[in-house]
């Protein structure tokens, strides 16, 4: 049976559902000790003294490390020059800054001992807003200044085009920091040996290996990173896994004992990256017919204390600020600045949710100003195959935006209340999104994958991309199953271990199905060549007359002429035909101008249109989502269960971003670093997302597929804002739109 497009179980589900899957915190080694860090506790200052005597004296404490004990450069980051220390030696740039690592016989002792470490800090006035950071006389948080990264996208002549616009809308849109809030806090376990092994809850093991080795002052080959079962990541387990991974390895080598470092929940929120808070000034001009002629956007991202993935997030906001629309004249400037707050980096959506909120708000404003239908204006301006997008890139196929709009328009159902109750306000919102798939022009995009068949006909897939819950292993297994004609239960996917699989780049940018899938497909095709050649020899016919299906090599013209695949594999093995292949998938080199951000960026885009109907309680601000439709062009559905799971899960993260979740700072200290006060949605807050897949074949993906993990976050966030704005009759320009905000807006409206 061909399993492409079929609802299949997760290939790694059995271990997870029985509790047998090994997460990093589940490893146990003889002699293992535990690490805990002392954090700065103030957002800015200079360390004047570290006194760890009281900690050392606590029974059970085995070691105390400071920056001086780090063999390598004591720096991590994503792009050079790396700017984040593992342990701070002088400057304190945020409250969660790690200063001292304490190792003890138990996690509990380590934590208590870390609390006893005294770090004397000469405090500075913290810089807590982007405005303060950019003030001409601002203290420099880093030697390079307070601008982390700034870029411009220039297409056409926006300033001139505004002159010819009949209507112009302008606004300033703000979004807040969001925490990944994966259920498993960051955890690593380092085991010393001739080569050190790091078991890590992580997203990009090869990236971690490089940084860990550098900070050990050893070659990368001296470190092996094994990805443990990872309890969610969403972009969050890159930098921080590097940080605690390096610390654990350094301590493990010093002590010659295994070292585990597991974050507590509060540390996970304070001491690892968040989604960038953003302030987006946006201006859009259109003709009286509703055709958008120009847009000018200024994006200011609060990146917190360190650069992390900010350069890429900055770039992503540039490229996506136009949304999925043809806008011939575009000027976008995007800047990330340093502040004395928790550093910000990758989080599912990667800058796109922020700019999509601004963009989609303006589309509604334009429609209202022009008296146009809100869906119609999207259709009018929406990208089609052959159109040039924001960077001037033209796709001749797989631009399914218009079909997602059509599907949403067709599936409209009435949300009007059956009984009139003046307690409630009702509203409907629409939002469209485009999100680039692959690293694209942000970096080189290469994936290596291996496929091998044993003589018993079973298949093993190896790839350096990671399973984080998103179901990628299942997709890769389905691809191998489909090509090699064996059932899905005969296919396994290796756990990721930097010794055992090829470096495949980072598991980011919704690229696993698309770029990773292509590598698996190519490797499987090579193994298939050996099998059909062998079967051809056995059936005395040419290889092209053989197909692999249902566990057999079958003569195409005679279904009864068939040989079990294990027999073919065994014969191929003894004949010396290779049954293993390592293949690479590389995105085409981008033809891209980094000064204007014009050119070809991504191998594909995912396009989507959402509709949401809400009921707002005027007195409490409670919002009930009555209906949420999410249509996405995914090229080709590989596993409907996986796709729905991605769209539903991403949508709820988008809903949290837009309505419930907000990191609350006071004087640079996070006030709600726990799950009671940081409200990620519970099951009673879920929204009724219905997935509507659109399949516009993507030539750069396996069987035409393209990724879908991120785009619904942006669309769900924007559609919530538009639906609530519609219900309340007030344009909300700040996310999250909390219950307090809604009540306040209604009150204000009553008094006006």
């Amino acid at each position: 049976m061909n399993v492409i497009g079929k609802k299949v179980r997760k290939v790694d589900g059995q271990e997870l559902i029985t509790g047998r899957a090994k997460f990093a915190g589940d490893y146990r080694f003889p002699g293992m000790v535990y690490g805990s860090v002392k954090r700065a506790g103030v957002p800015a200052g200079r360390i004047t003294k570290i006194d760890a005597d009281a900690a050392r004296q606590l029974p059970g404490v085995v070691d105390v490390l400071t920056a001086a004990d780090i063999p390598g450069p004591n720096l991590i980051g994503v792009l050079p020059p790396f700017d984040q220390p593992l342990l701070a030696s002088d400057e304190i740039r945020y409250d969660g800054e790690s200063v001292v690592l304490v190792i003890a016989e138990s996690a509990e002792i380590a934590r208590r001992a870390a609390e006893k470490v005294s770090v004397t800090i000469n405090p500075y006035d913290p810089i807590l807003t982007v405005d303060d950071a950019l003030a001409p006389d601002a203290r420099k948080i880093h030697e390079t200044g307070n601008v982390t990264f700034t870029k411009k996208l220039i297409k056409g002549d926006a300033a001139a085009a505004f002159e010819g616009a009949d209507v112009i809308v302008e606004g300033v849109y703000e979004t807040s920091n969001q925490d990944h809030a994966y259920l498993e806090p960051e955890t690593v376990c380092a085991v010393p040996g001739r080569r050190i092994t790091l078991y890590a809850s992580c997203q990009s093991p090869f990236h971690i290996r490089g940084h860990v080795a550098a900070n050990l002052n050893l070659p990368a080959s001296s470190v092996k990173v094994v990805q443990a079962s990872t309890g969610g990541s969403f972009g969050g387990k890159d930098d921080v896994a590097t940080e605690i991974g390096a610390l654990a390895c350094i301590a493990a080598l010093r002590l010659n004992r295994p070292v585990m470092i597991a974050h507590e929940r509060a540390e996970s929120m304070i001491g690892s990256n968040l989604r960038h808070a953003a302030r987006i000034r946006c201006k859009t001009g259109a003709t009286k017919d509703g055709k958008i002629v120009a847009r000018d956007v200024n994006v200011l991202l609060d990146g917190g204390a360190y650069a992390s993935e900010s350069p890429f997030v900055t770039m992503k906001t540039l490229i996506h600020a136009a949304g999925p629309y043809t806008i011939e004249n575009l000027f976008v400037e995007s800047t990330t600045v340093y502040t004395n707050k928790t550093y910000c980096g990758a989080f599912r959506g990667f800058g796109v949710p922020q700019v999509t909120f601004a963009s989609e708000s303006q589309i509604d404003e334009l429609a209202d100003k022009l008296g146009m239908d809100r869906l119609e204006i999207r259709r009018l301006n929406g990208l089609k195959a052959g159109d040039a997008n924001a960077t001037g890139q033209v796709y001749q196929q797989s631009v399914g935006l218009q079909e997602t709009i059509t599907k949403i328009a067709e599936s409209v159902e009435t949300s009007a209340p059956t009984t009139e109750d003046d307690r409630y306000l009702y509203g409907t919102g629409y939002a469209c999104v485009a999100q680039g798939i692959s690293n694209g022009a942000e970096g080189v995009d290469v994936t290596g994958a291996s496929v091998q068949m044993s003589q018993d006909g079973s298949v093993l897939v190896g790839i350096g991309l990671t399973e984080l819950g998103q179901g990628s292993r299942t997709v890769w297994a389905q691809l191998a199953s489909a090509i090699l004609g064996v059932s899905l239960d005969r296919v396994s996917v290796r756990l990721v271990d930097t010794d055992g699989v090829h470096d495949s780049g980072p598991t980011v940018a919704s690229r696993s199905t698309t770029v990773g899938g292509m590598a698996v497909l190519k490797a499987a095709e090579e193994v298939k060549k050996s099998l059909v050649t062998m079967a051809g020899l056995m059936m005395k016919t040419d290889a092209e007359n053989i197909e692999l299906r249902d566990g057999f090599a079958i003569l195409k013209m005679d279904d009864n002429a068939r040989i079990p695949i294990p027999d073919v594999a065994t014969a191929a093995y003894w004949t010396g035909f290779p049954l293993m292949n390592l293949a690479f998938s590389k995105a085409p080199d981008a033809d891209y101008d980094h000064d204007t951000h014009q050119g070809d960026v991504y191998i594909a885009y995912n396009y989507g249109t959402h509709r949401m109907d809400v009921r707002v309680d005027k007195l409490t601000g409670q919002v009930k989502v009555l209906n949420h439709l999410a249509a996405h062009d995914v090229g080709k559905v590989i596993n409907p269960l996986g796709l729905e799971g991605q769209i539903e899960g991403a949508s709820l993260i988008g809903f949290g971003f837009a309505h419930m979740e907000k990191i609350r700072y006071r004087d640079g200290i996070i006030q709600n670093a726990n799950f009671a006060d940081y409200a990620l949605p519970s099951i009673k807050d879920r929204i009724p997302t219905a997935t509507i897949p659109v399949e516009d074949h993507n030539p750069t993906g396996p069987f035409g597929a393209k990724g879908a993990g991120e785009p619904p976050v942006a669309a769900a966030g924007a559609v919530f804002a538009n639906a609530v704005s519609d219900a309340v009759g007030v344009r909300f320009e700040r996310l999250p739109i909390t219950r307090e905000d809604i009540v306040e807006a209604i009150e204000r409206g009553n008094h006006d």
Partner: protein, 290 residues
């Protein structure tokens, strides 16, 4: 750490008197405090296994019959007990999650004295009395007098909460509870409110209202109570409630909410609880008619 597990109340109060240990009932607050390092008790006295501290039953008392609730009765048991007034059951249901409610006790919720504890406003609105016991004797305190500040009560060293007495007549009144938190499931109240009403033909003969999270302690609202007596419950308007409630509450801005929103919520939640009572009364009267 010493962990003591007495099997009788007498034993518990003696241990408490001699050790100055910390009482552990369900443990859902104590475990958080210990994990956060807010407390590091030398001795824990686990009263969770004392049978005589558990249960719900009618008992005679000097002031007439009372509904007796043992302090170690779990929140889940409160929630499930059909003998108890609706406001208290609804308040119990609003606490944490099923997991927390299966562990946590009503005595713990009371003695933790968080201004947002969800059984507190119901208990005030039911004019519950708390029986405090020490090695030297017992005393009874009105629920409205028990709380002295956030996490502070009149409990003295060596005293523990033994039981809660609900006057039987207040259990016969129609009552309701409402809360709103920062999410719909497993939320801590930004504000909670309880009302209990004595009605005749839909007219309020007497009522008691209480709110939580709008002052350092859960508050009774006597001005509101006075303003509503004699009115038809159905005719009560949101706007009627605002002035008397605002006069009595003192909400603050904090990490969980803003003072302004809390004011609005206090009014709305009292209003919604009253409407809940109105619906109960209506269906009771319909039931009586048929």
């Amino acid at each position: 750490m010493n962990y003591l597990k007495p099997s009788t109340v007498e034993e518990a109060t003696e241990l408490l008197g001699s050790s100055q240990g910390m009482i552990l009932a369900g443990g859902t607050d104590a475990c958080v405090y210990m994990a956060e390092g807010f407390c590091d008790p030398e001795t824990l006295i686990d009263i969770g296994a004392i049978d005589s501290l558990r249960g719900i039953e009618t008992q005679p008392s000097d002031d007439g019959d009372v509904l007796w609730i043992g302090a170690c009765t779990t929140i889940s048991e409160i929630e499930a007990s059909e003998a108890l007034p609706r406001a208290l059951r609804q308040g119990a249901h609003a606490i944490g999650s099923p997991q927390i409610r299966n562990l946590g006790t009503i005595g713990g919720n009371i003695c933790n004295a968080s201004p947002c504890g969800d059984t507190l406003a119901p208990l005030l609105s039911l004019e519950a009395r708390f029986v405090l016991r020490s090695a030297t004797g017992t005393r009874t305190v009105e629920s409205a007098d028990f709380f002295t500040g956030p996490k502070q009560t009149v409990l003295q060293a060596g005293e523990l909460l033994e039981c809660i007495d609900l006057p039987i007549d207040s259990c016969e009144w129609i009552s309701a509870f409402r809360m709103i938190g920062n999410r719909n499931g497993q939320a801590i109240s930004q504000v909670n409110a309880a009302v209990s009403t004595k009605l005749e033909g839909g007219v309020i003969q007497a009522m008691r209202a209480a709110v939580g999270s709008v002052a350092p302690v859960p508050l009774r609202l006597p001005q509101l109570e006075g303003a509503l007596v004699g009115k038809t419950l159905q005719s009560v308007q949101w706007a009627d409630l605002k002035a008397p409630i605002m006069a009595e509450i003192r909400p603050i801005d904090d990490v969980r909410s803003t003072a302004t929103y809390r004011q609005e919520l206090a009014v709305t939640l009292i209003f919604d609880a009253l409407m809940d009572c109105a619906r109960q009364d209506e269906s009771a009267r319909k039931g009586a008619d048929t």
